[in-house]
Symmetry: C2
Subunit: 438 residues, 2 copies
């Protein structure tokens, strides 16, 4: 402690002592000297506000720090920055506003709150001359917020492709590597603690869409309502498509994508085919990753743990340090995040998104069916790059899986062709469609 | 320009208008509005100082900007930050000192200068209340300086592994993919402009060692003389080892490595075996990458273009923006880079570095030679993990290549064993040794 005993102190509060809150407290308490060295001042944990004082916690707090009285923190003028780690929308939103109003800068990991109420919270912070830092809200330990908003500031970002949900990546990586089916893999992820008891928000793409909305705002200045982002999750994926994709040289990943096009900003969250050997295809287990292309820097790629106690706490404490030393205030003031009139790009119509597609049909083993598929695709301006007719599925006699890879086509053309093909009697089902990430 | 016409202006100078300088000028001139948006102020290029006014350049400069008179820039009080892009040690060092003395903050891409004179330059900047930013000095477009010194500030970095030289990575990637030999691949790299006419500093590991010295300072607070870092380049690599490595599941990469051990900080630059599928093994062409492990965040990985006009200019302009808005001053003051007494960790003895090893021997095809090898290794405490005796090389009758993979051993044990084996008559040569990156 000697090194930092003469140093200036910054009072720090934590609201919410769940997993991440306990991790933040441990970094501040157990590694105070290190933090002081990196911040040039001591970060001093004064209050940890919880709802239930009796709940067992993963950290030993000094006498007097734990409290269930938010007002004590709010009223303490020695606290200048607070890690607000309560999840969900309310009371998180009200707590955040109360902290800002009392003159505290705020650090948060709550992406749902930012995706939903970013404009209100950021406007309020600006008006009060305060700042909000939110590195931990997207991709946990990967410092993607700082990288986009600061390190790539000489660039116009042209596209972003991310694996932003570790639960989904754990599941699709397993399905790819082991040929396992979705339900069994989800159950395993739940056992290992990689998936919640109710995994809906993760597996249906909501979580990734909320994170993408935040990244799209930073990279493109787009004020996006996350619920308007076209999204599809990984629930419903079938192991057979992982097998066929691999034969074609691809893995299936849940990709959150943003791309500047002539029609505006295209946003999409869905399972996509990613070429084996491309960095995103090789992201395993519960890791997150973000690839970006800047017009000056070219392609850059970041990978790390997207969740978990200490990776997320690492991002929160980096934000606490940035706020304590004054970097956050500068960045916050400069970037005018979510400010009125800041919407510099319109959203492209979802149908306009151009991509190659993987299409799987279950067809009856009769002549002419391929001609009908090719005909419907051709009529809608879709060229076929390759066709794979696979071995008959013995369990469903007479039904043959056909996989078609298209050349670059619009989502609306593909939708139109598939709608037509659904009415063809020799086609048992239009079983699957994925975009292929280029 | 409307958006930025009312804005505050920061005068910017450039010294050295080679490839990178021209790229920086283009970003400032062609994308002034974007830069202004990301900086909250206009970055105004006032002087571009060159030695030879008549040399053709890759950019159109406004009237009056180009000059061969450094003093004009030095004397202009409207210029507060200068991109110093002259390479080599002198006159780069003197120019840098002159700029600092005249009250300018400096941004540089000159890693050789920092690796050699970092302490002097940073002390001088601190004394004068100025800052030096140097994102472009390591790994070009990958913002590794900001990531280590700022984004990972809640962590003790435990290890760093980098592919820091694009020329070398281009060559070893080609040798791996095509089985080509070193000289032919180097010639191809030179034709494509990926290698200099005199590639010595790249291929012998000097460039990577200089960059590693800078990273080691940032991540571990070690004041390292780059020339003391054990280093071996890629000149002399043989295609046969790429083939054997691949059979074992590895690629050969030039790795710059730093690792905190009980014996101190281990630093090493050498060709190493990297497991196929690991992010570093999949870094192709002339890309750079850095993997780091932080004690809180766990493993993180960054990849991008490590050189080239616009990727490097992207890093320089990000630094100009950071300096203009005041973030650099805060970081510079906080981190006490290369400050006296800042050396927090000693260097480990090179022999103490523990690793698995790939060893190749050319042996005479006589009985008992394997026993002799195993004996010498065993005597020095080295356990063998696996042995591969390869097909006889038909061009050298009677000589058989034997590849041994060891368990974890110290460099000094391996050195001792190999010295012994060099005297064994049945061993034609101790042909190769590589560390295996874990």
């Amino acid at each position: 402690m000697s090194e930092s005993s003469q140093m200036e102190k910054t009072g720090v509060g934590i609201v919410g002592m769940g997993t991440v809150g306990a991790g933040v407290a441990r970094l501040l308490l157990d590694h105070g000297d290190r933090t002081a060295r990196h911040a040039g001042r001591k970060l001093w944990l004064t209050h940890a506000v919880v709802r239930d004082l009796k709940k067992p916690r993963d950290v030993d707090l000094p006498e007097g720090v734990l409290t269930d009285d938010l007002q004590r923190l709010v009223d303490d003028p020695s606290v200048s920055v607070v890690a607000q780690l309560v999840g969900g929308i309310e009371p998180a939103r009200s707590i955040m506003l109360q902290l800002l109003e009392s003159g505290k800068d705020v650090v948060t990991a709550n992406k749902a709150l930012l995706a939903q109420h970013g404009p209100e919270l950021f406007d309020q912070a600006r008006e009060l001359g305060r700042s909000i830092a939110f590195e931990a809200s997207v991709a946990g330990g990967i410092p993607i917020i700082a990288n986009i908003s600061q390190c790539l500031s000489a660039n116009q970002v042209q596209s972003l492709q991310g694996i932003l949900n570790g639960t989904c990546n754990f599941i699709v990586s397993k399905m790819d590597a082991e040929g396992a089916d979705y339900q069994a893999t989800l159950a395993e992820a739940q056992e290992l603690g990689y998936a919640e008891a109710d995994p809906t928000m993760d597996v249906d793409g909501t979580d990734a869409a909320q994170k993408l909305a935040i990244l799209a705002h930073l990279a493109f200045g787009a004020r996006v309502d996350w619920s308007k982002i076209p999204r599809r999750g990984i629930d419903g994926l079938q192991s057979v498509d992982f097998k066929y994709a691999k034969q074609l040289g691809y893995r299936i990943k849940l990709i959150a994508m943003a791309r500047l096009t002539e029609a505006g900003l295209s946003l999409d969250v869905s399972p996509m085919l990613v070429k084996i050997g491309q960095p995103l295809a090789e992201v395993r287990d519960n890791y997150n990753a973000v690839g970006a292309v800047g017009d000056a820097v070219g392609p850059v790629f970041f990978q790390g743990q997207g969740a978990g106690q200490m990776p997320t706490a690492s991002a929160v404490v980096a934000d606490l340090i940035d706020t304590a030393v004054g970097r956050t205030a500068i960045t916050f003031e400069t970037l005018e995040l979510w400010a009125e009139g800041h919407d510099r790009v319109g959203l492209a119509d979802a149908g306009s998104l151009i991509s190659r597609y993987y299409l799987r049909f279950n067809v009856q083993d009769v002549p002419n069916v391929l001609a009908q598929i090719a005909g419907a695709l051709g009529k809608n301006g879709i060229s076929i790059a390759s066709v794979y007719q696979h071995d008959v599925d013995l369990s469903q006699e007479g039904i043959v899986p056909v996989v078609i890879v298209t050349k670059r086509s619009s989502q609306s053309s593909v939708d139109a062709a598939l709608a037509e093909l659904k009415t063809v009697s020799a086609i048992d089902s239009v079983a699957e469609q994925f975009k292929i990430l280029d």
